[in-house]
């Protein structure tokens, strides 16, 4: 079973290509407020996570996700 850190590492690696502001990514980095991802970019990012881990991430989780850490936690919860 994939653990929290593994999800987190994948998120960091994948987000580097969209790190326009050259931020040092951490669990508290906000996807929209800090990184400036558009809603479309967030959707595409979610698709990458789903395909990499072969999991389903319903869009319903998005209102509760602000930071990279939030997303890693939600993805882990969904796939326990």
């Amino acid at each position: 079973m994939t653990d929290y850190q593994e999800y987190l590492d994948f998120l960091y690696t994948t987000l580097e290509t969209q790190n326009k502001n050259k931020l040092e990514l951490s669990e508290t980095t906000a996807l929209v407020a800090d990184m400036g991802l558009s809603s479309l970019e967030v959707m595409e990012f979610i698709e990458k996570i789903e395909d990499h881990f072969d999991i389903t991430i319903p869009l319903n989780i998005l209102p509760d996700v602000n930071t990279i850490g939030d997303l890693a936690t939600k993805v882990k919860e969904l796939n326990l």
């Binding site: 558009s38 809603s39 479309l40 959707m43 698709e47 789903e50 389903t56 319903p58 869009l59 319903n60």
Partner: protein
Amino acid sequence: MLFDKFQTMADFQAELAERDVAPFGAVTEEIISATEGIVQGRKVILAGTNNYLGLSYDPRCIKAAQDAAERWGTGTTGSRLANGSFSEHQLLEEEIAAFYGVNHAIVFSTGYAATMGMCSTLAGPGDVILLDADSHASIYSGVKLSGADIIRFKHNNPDDLAKRLNRLGDRAGQALIIAEGIYSMLGDVAPLQEIAAVKREYGGYLFLDEAHSMGALGATGRGAAQEAGIEDDVDFFAGTFSKSLGAIGGFCVSNHPELEAIRYCISAYIFTASSSPSIIASTRESLRIISAEPQLRETLWDNAHRLYDGLKALGLPVGPTASPVVAVEMEDRPATVECWRALMEQGVYVNLVVPPASPSTNFLLRNSVSAAHSTQQIDAIIAAYATLVSSGLIATSAAA
């Protein structure tokens, strides 16, 4: 602050005011015909109205509306569940069901209410919805309200749909799959034979929005499913009366008898006033006309091909195939706004579309073709675009 989230839009509106251009909510001051009007003081060809068959200005539809207004008054002043069900509404439901060859129909006051209402009600908490990524805003609004698990599949990609259904395991058989016939912004048609094949393999229920394809596709104008020969795989058809039928309103039809119970659970149906009798009457007449006059569809497609081929020949970035919706995609917002203004100055009204209404980060000059356009009008639209190219306002594939 409460209003902070609107600042980006306020800035954009200020930018448009600075440029002295008003592409959103451009005011039509007079309608001359189904394809000509006075917009913001200028006589223009209407090439952004979704009036695919030109029926909004058909004398027979106007007469039907006039007669109904005289007989029934101007409005119902109530919901379908209260005092707002007139025999006209019931007759339209019977006729739209017969048009689709099914047993059950619900008529809504708008197309938005039809798709939003159905999508918010059909699935609920514990259910799962798979929707095409480029679905209309009314569908996104509906699924969000449903409380079901919402999963997007890649636009017009049956393989991605299959992959996501496969991940669902046993839940796939009860999933609600949502697609559209013709997609409203780029005019591309869903690969419905392949989507239906995926549904047959994994199970689930298929909800198809034919808003832009009803009247435009299919042997009798029922839409993209009829064109693809997969109507038996569709569980629920939704659509609108505000495009090919030239009025306003929406519908959902189905062979599932449960639709009659669902009717009483849809907030967008229960808690809004029903359509004015004049609207219902003109819609009934339009429905009769599109059944009786298939040549309207032939003319629509002749015009669609003429515009698509003309813009493509200019080297403009249009979609992969001809369609009643022909969109020119651009990457730069100020350039798109300037092109929209230049088209208006040459007497052509089209839709300016910006994200998130456009399906990507691109901007669109969205043209919709009508059977009522003359070939001279289509050629005038192409000529207006040619001046955008010659003046360097718009990049072409030849120049890229």
